[in-house]
Symmetry: C2
Subunit: 305 residues, 2 copies
């Protein structure tokens, strides 16, 4: 079974929000899961504007606790309650996120109408933090001014695809189909063993999405996200401001492209632009000098892979 992976950009600008430049937040749809990634101020309004159903969001992944990735979280938590949600919500983020959310709920003397769970992160190594039958989520340790993680969302490889002509020609009983799809060989009534590769096709390539923001250029990220379908990598600066990367803990478009190239991903999405720049195309042009398949995130943009 193949399904498309879509990324809806709710906001993709660095630092303070402007009237038409939202801070970071995006929604990944992978195997019909809606994962909300980061939650800058105004995220709940952007969700409405993008017509994303609140009730379908069951997991929120926060990269780090800088305001432009985080100050919209309490609004989302509260509004879900106002809507009398009952579906549980789990929030993944750095240690401290639970305290700050629960303190605010305590001060408002209001508790959520739904079960609210936190999974606090402090590991500096990649950590599998979510798994179900279809998808896994693993942290991508980043290098920023404060503790930060990206997230790697991966479809699980599905069953092998049955070569229906082959199994019919060999008159194999339907009872064995599941075993074959799971990789087993077939044994005919005369004892002949038919190897699995003659009965099946490879399953569709499992898709994956790597979210890396905010971070300095950290080459080892490429090893972890090899062959990802799409990489969202921050590119706060153009090469002309490369000297600002170290003090601020950010990357250039070329840094992002270098990770994409090294990881051999299919697509690179740039975002988290400093608002000092007028023309976003300069980010794309710089990245294209290193990696061929570059997309520019912008608020309201939806990418389908």
């Amino acid at each position: 079974m193949s399904s498309s992976l879509t990324v809806s950009i709710l906001g993709c600008y660095a630092a303070a929000p402007g009237a038409f430049k939202n801070p970071t937040s995006q929604v990944l749809n992978i195997r019909n899961h809606l994962f909300l990634i980061d939650c800058g101020e105004g995220t709940q309004v952007a969700l409405r504007r993008n017509k994303i159903k609140f009730a379908r969001i069951k997991h929120i992944f926060i990269s780090h606790l800088h305001g432009d990735h985080f100050f919209g979280l309490m609004g989302v938590i509260s509004t879900f309650s106002l809507l009398k949600r009952t579906t549980p919500l789990t929030i993944y983020g750095p240690v401290g996120i639970k305290e700050v959310c629960l303190l605010q709920l305590k001060l408002t003397q209001s508790f959520t109408s739904y079960p609210l769970y936190f999974k606090e992160l402090d590991s500096k190594e990649p950590e599998r933090i979510y798994e179900d039958d279809l998808v896994t989520v693993t942290t991508i340790p980043l290098k920023h001014r404060i503790y930060a993680n990206g997230y790697f969302f991966q479809e699980k490889t599905g069953d092998r695809k049955l070569d229906i002509n082959a199994v019919l020609n060999l008159d194999i009983d339907k009872a064995y189909y599941n075993k074959i799809k799971q990789g087993g060989d077939a044994t005919l009534e005369d004892g002949t063993v038919i190897p699995n590769k003659d009965l099946t096709f490879d399953p569709p390539k499992a898709k994956s999405y790597a979210y890396c923001s905010d971070t300095m250029y950290k080459p080892v990220i490429a090893d972890q996200i090899k062959n990802a379908t799409a990489l969202y990598h921050e590119s706060t600066f153009l090469d002309s401001h490369e000297h600002l990367c170290k003090p601020t803990g950010h990357s250039t478009a070329k840094h992002a492209a270098s990770i994409a190239k090294e990881a051999k991903v299919d697509h690179l999405i740039l975002g988290h632009y400093s608002t000092r720049y007028g023309d976003l195309n300069e980010f794309k042009e710089e990245a294209l000098t290193i990696f061929p398949n570059v997309h520019l995130a912008d608020d309201g943009e939806v990418f389908t892979f």
Copy 2:
């Protein structure tokens, strides 16, 4: 000296923000002070949209810690820092506001670029919390689901106005003018005492602004804000939903108008509308049955008195 008082409505809708309905925040300009009152999510963007200079805001008054009055505060605090502000900022609000703000600053490992002060409130009686040569600010204890205060902003009555013809005719030395403006009588060289009332006019009436949101109908408020120039009073509901006032801690348009009438204010501004209603004019019509001078707040509206 007479000056106008202006109120810029940044947001005036109850509960969850929508794409075009901002939660509560407003800026009062009184004697050239810009006071930011409440700070729902998106306030910093609304400040920009309304072209209000961040640097001129030195005092923020938070009524209570429900999200729709408060979740934009951290964004404002942080953005002021990003802009490298150095002017001190003082925040007035319920006990707990300091802890939740400082915790978030601690988690981001960033401290403000400017001195940040908190004046935490817990009194159930009106309390003078700000005073300078021109203006005073006093809390207005409200009745809501959680601890909440409105704020009463009052110009100080200025000096009496010199009757320049009178003092010239009597050949009173300029050295005495200040004493006379402050209410003193004049003594002529022959010993005659000229009473102050013959030398001065009354100063212009001091203006004042009462902000009351969120609150149930609380008649005693009227005693405190007698003859105010303008009252902003929440009117979450129409009369048809009056039964919701008690469980939610809110008022109807008629409640607001009753306070305005009892206090004999000049102007009533309604706001904090539940988003369940389509036509705001219904609020005005209901209030007009009780009080004649009713204005409807709306996002972006500016009132000058």
